[in-house]
């Protein structure tokens, strides 16, 4: 027996010595020297076609590979010249004329002209492509009709190539935030030659997005794509602003697990990660405050009712449930990361608009309202089914709410965990009572939040309908006077909060862990960090 112990020790010691003494080069140290950024990107991108994907991990990579007419200032998010070097607005805001750069090129050197944009918009609006973001282009005249198949002649749609480098877009009605809309990837141009080489214009899932095939017009080109392993992009020499781009290469790593991603960051495998497990937030805040970035994010986390189901069709019940939730506790102790308890649906200071509503925590009033609704001390109220989609954060939130309702109102809640796909499906089939939900703004304007609740809106999952609300929102969309719009939005929001088809809980913050060598990364409310401006400054 003793002999065996010695045998094993003798075997293992040299092995350990070898490892212990080997000096390890981390990604971060190599990256700093060579100008390579290592980025943790969450889940593996489904595709890199700007017109058929919707996820944030995809969007981060696509913004490095493509560029739209308009790009964003990395600090203020204000529209800046992109492919279009200037533009003019005419006809009371209905017609936008864009003057494209003559030195704008595709990554293979071929010139980028207005005709490319016509092709791209035709593609995203073509029904067979079934793009989920096509609705973003509905502001263009006749675009919605073309996308629904009502008209089949694309020349009727309000985009025109007036000359090779002049593009004209005609809208249905004036939209004050139109230019910021253009920074969304749905509006990015795609190369006709490459797409038609690998399939038809509106054919989904062709091979044009594979490395070696994909042609973009952005600051980087796609070099390598190993599924579940890494995506490598390198600097695009043919980019018109290549001089400003300082990084040589970016490597995106996909992760399925928050803990794994954070560990990779901590051990120097990544420069940047957008995933911070809740339990580690306070650790970083205390020990490494310079590394963790907590920024207000344009999103709201809320509970949504199916207002057609009893007893949630009773306004008093909904209000009682809302009053019994301690949002401050929830935000501070359960969710953490600087989340702000919600007072409205639209986050404060969205393009200068802040709602004038309030959401109380008042247990006495909640009890009173519940009794008024016919359920004194919670008696008679059927068991509440609170649906949520699997994630550790969601689970903690619903557990906390379940307990708050039990303690404050003496009612029983059963929390129903549904997998992501089933959760989404339940909304489609209206098979839920109350559910957790979140909405992230598509662009920096209150309408992206308040449009949701109009009657018949695609994403109006509460099945809620209010004529007055619709009327006000319609008015707001018909005007381009900022003050008037904000005024109207305020009115609409008051109705929304008073009728409570949803219970807003908190406003989002975006979290990121960034190594100090990373510069050119600026916090903003949309969490957009164009990689064009990012660079590494080693100490």
């Amino acid at each position: 027996m003793k002999k065996k112990i010695w045998f094993f020790l003798v075997l293992f010691i040299p092995v350990f010595l070898v490892f212990g003494c080997a000096k390890k080069e981390t990604n971060v140290s190599t990256g700093n020297l060579k100008g390579i950024l290592y980025l943790g990107n969450g889940s593996e991108p489904q595709n890199l076609d700007p017109q058929t994907v919707t996820g944030v991990p995809e969007q981060r990579i696509i913004s490095a590979l493509f560029e739209g007419l308009v790009s964003e200032n990395p600090k203020t998010l204000a529209p800046e010249p992109g492919v279009a070097k200037s533009w003019s607005i005419s006809n009371k805001g209905l017609v936008y004329t864009f003057f494209l750069r003559k030195d704008a090129k595709w990554s293979d050197g071929t010139p980028l002209t207005a005709k490319n944009f016509i092709f791209s918009y035709k593609r995203i609006l073509s029904p067979p492509l079934a793009s989920q973001n096509a609705y973003m282009l509905y502001c263009i005249k006749n675009a919605k009709k073309f996308n629904k198949g009502t008209i089949t002649d694309f020349s009727k749609v309000g985009v025109k190539a007036v000359s090779p480098y002049v593009l004209q877009i005609t809208l249905n009605k004036p939209i004050p935030y139109f230019l910021s809309l253009l920074t969304h990837m749905a509006w990015f141009p795609v190369d006709k030659n490459i797409i038609e080489k690998y399939g038809k214009i509106a054919q989904r899932g062709t091979k044009w997005t594979l490395p070696g095939h994909l042609i973009g017009n952005g600051p980087f080109i796609l070099k390598q794509w190993d599924i579940n392993k890494s995506i490598v992009v390198v600097k695009n020499k043919n980019y018109w602003d290549a001089k400003k781009v300082k990084l040589n290469k970016i490597i995106f790593y996909p992760f399925n697990d928050n803990q794994t991603e954070e560990r990779a960051f901590r051990s120097g495998q990544l420069h940047v990660t957008y995933t911070v497990p809740t339990s580690k937030i306070s650790v970083y805040e205390k020990n490494k405050p310079g590394i963790i970035k907590i920024t207000p994010y344009l999103g709201t986390y809320y509970l949504i009712f199916n207002v057609n189901r009893k007893p949630y069709n009773n306004l008093l019940v909904r209000k009682a449930l809302s009053l019994a939730i301690n949002r401050t506790s929830l935000a501070k102790y359960v969710v953490k990361g600087g989340k702000i308890p919600a007072k409205s649906f639209t986050p404060p200071n969205t393009a200068g608009y802040t709602a004038d509503t309030d959401l109380d925590y008042n247990v006495q009033k909640a009890k009173y309202l519940l009794a008024e609704a016919g359920y004194p001390s919670g008696k008679g109220l059927p068991v509440i089914e609170l649906m949520y989609s699997s994630s550790v954060r969601n689970r903690r939130i619903v557990e906390a709410i379940q307990e708050m309702w039990a303690e404050n109102l003496n009612i029983k809640t059963s929390i129903v965990n549904k997998e992501w796909k089933v959760y989404l499906d339940s909304f489609r089939t209206r098979d839920f009572s109350i559910a957790t939900a979140s909405w992230i703004g598509d662009y920096n304007d209150p309408s992206t939040f308040l449009d949701l609740w109009m009657t018949g809106a695609g994403n109006n999952r509460a099945c809620w309908s209010n004529k007055e609300y619709d009327r006000i929102m319609q008015q707001a969309s018909d005007t381009s006077n900022k003050k008037l719009r904000n005024n109207l939005f305020g009115k609409a929001e008051k109705i929304l909060i008073s009728k409570m088809p949803i219970i807003p809980l908190y406003y989002y913050t975006s979290l990121a862990l960034i190594k100090p060598e990373v510069k050119g990364w600026y916090p903003n409310i949309l969490d957009h960090h164009p990689l064009k401006y990012v660079y590494l400054e080693s100490k």
């Binding site: 027996m1 065996k4 350990f16 490892f19 212990g20 390890k24 593996e44 489904q46 595709n47 076609d49 058929t52 919707t54 996820g55 029904p127 067979p128 492509l129 079934a130 793009s131 989920q132 096509a134 609705y135 996308n147 629904k148 198949g149 989904r204 899932g205 062709t206 091979k207 044009w208 997005t209 594979l210 190993d226 599924i227 579940n228 392993k229 790593y253 992760f255 399925n256 697990d257 803990q259 794994t260 560990r263 990779a264 901590r266 051990s267 495998q269 997998e419 992501w420 796909k421 089933v422 959760y423 989404l424 499906d425 909304f427 489609r428 695609g458 994403n459 999952r461």
Partner: protein
């Protein structure tokens, strides 16, 4: 032997077909489809998506079409990653899982058999108790606990290896240990049991009486018989290992088949699910056959005419 193998191969085909059929219908019955999407899609978009993937056709036609392409060896495009085919993705992920799995199995065999033999030489003694307790850790600590603990000790605190990834040879160590632990425990148990049984047989008594040293008694005379049950365990175990362990792959960031598979189930990536299920079934069936053949070859009590 040839006819034995042939008979079994012939049996394999209907098994695979039935597995394919059951899976095909089972996954379509499950709620939540591949296109349940974050932003509500308009009915037109949904209809177009379904049309593109052939999901708008009646289910028996979908089934027939799938079977037809299956016979050609084409597993179709992935629903989740539309610009890749299932064949391609499995082709990329399988070698990784194969590497990880074989190393884990090798480790499990070495450690398991060693400890099992050590334990069996003095049953119910301290040596037995300690060896078995040590290997049992493999069955008593879940991989998703063992993995992070090993990472914490060796990668974070001691900084000897990377926390995750599958690039340099040192990356292999921790995942292989985590994955192999459970199998090592089972193999140890099996070999201990097998050795104990063989060592109690008469011919061993004879060998000892003849004066042969204990070492040779173990190595030359008992090993083959004692390890028989390990052989039959290895077959399905290898299939499980090779087709990837989801937990280990997620924790160590390994682009293997296990991860692909479980994520496909959650994403309702129908074609990928079918592809991985069939692949797994094929592996199991082949490995079972190999194991059976080996067993018959080693065990003098059995023959191919069974």
């Amino acid at each position: 032997m040839f006819f034995f193998i042939l008979k079994r191969v012939v049996h394999v085909i209907p098994v695979l077909l039935i597995v394919a059929t059951i899976t095909f219908f089972l996954i379509r019955i499950a709620p939540g489809g591949p296109f349940s999407l974050d932003k509500n899609v308009t009915p037109e978009v949904l209809a177009n998506l379904n049309r593109h993937y052939g999901l708008d056709k009646p289910i028996y036609i979908q089934y027939l079409e799938y079977m037809k392409s299956l016979l050609k060896g084409d597993l179709g495009p992935s629903f989740q990653y539309p610009n890749r085919t299932v064949n391609e993705m499995i082709g990329n992920a399988f070698p990784v899982s194969l590497e990880l799995g074989s190393m884990a199995m090798a480790l499990a065999l070495i450690v398991g058999i060693l400890f099992g033999i050590i334990a069996s030489t003095k049953p119910n003694d301290l040596r037995d108790y300690f060896s078995m307790s040590f290997v049992m850790l493999g069955i008593c600590i879940p991989a998703f606990v063992l993995g992070p603990i090993l990472i914490w000790i060796f990668a974070i605190k001691l900084n000897w290896v990377n926390v995750s990834g599958w690039n340099t040879p040192t990356d292999y160590i921790l995942p292989v240990i985590t994955l192999g632990a459970m199998y090592a425990a089972n193999i140890a148990r099996l070999s201990r049991g097998g050795m104990l049984e063989v060592l109690s047989l008469d011919f061993i008594r004879t060998a000892r009486a003849k004066g042969i040293s204990e070492k040779w008694v173990i190595i030359r005379h008992s090993l083959k018989g004692g390890l028989l049950s390990v052989v039959s365990y290895i077959g399905p175990a290898v299939a499980g290992l090779i087709t990837g362990s989801f937990v280990v792959e997620v924790i160590f960031q390994i682009p293997g088949l296990g991860r692909l598979f479980v994520l496909a189930a959650f994403n309702r990536d129908y074609t990928m699910i079918m592809g991985t299920v069939l692949f797994y079934a094929l592996m199991i069936v082949i490995l079972n056959l190999v194991v059976d053949v080996i067993q018959i070859l080693i065990d003098p009590r059995r023959s191919f005419s069974e």
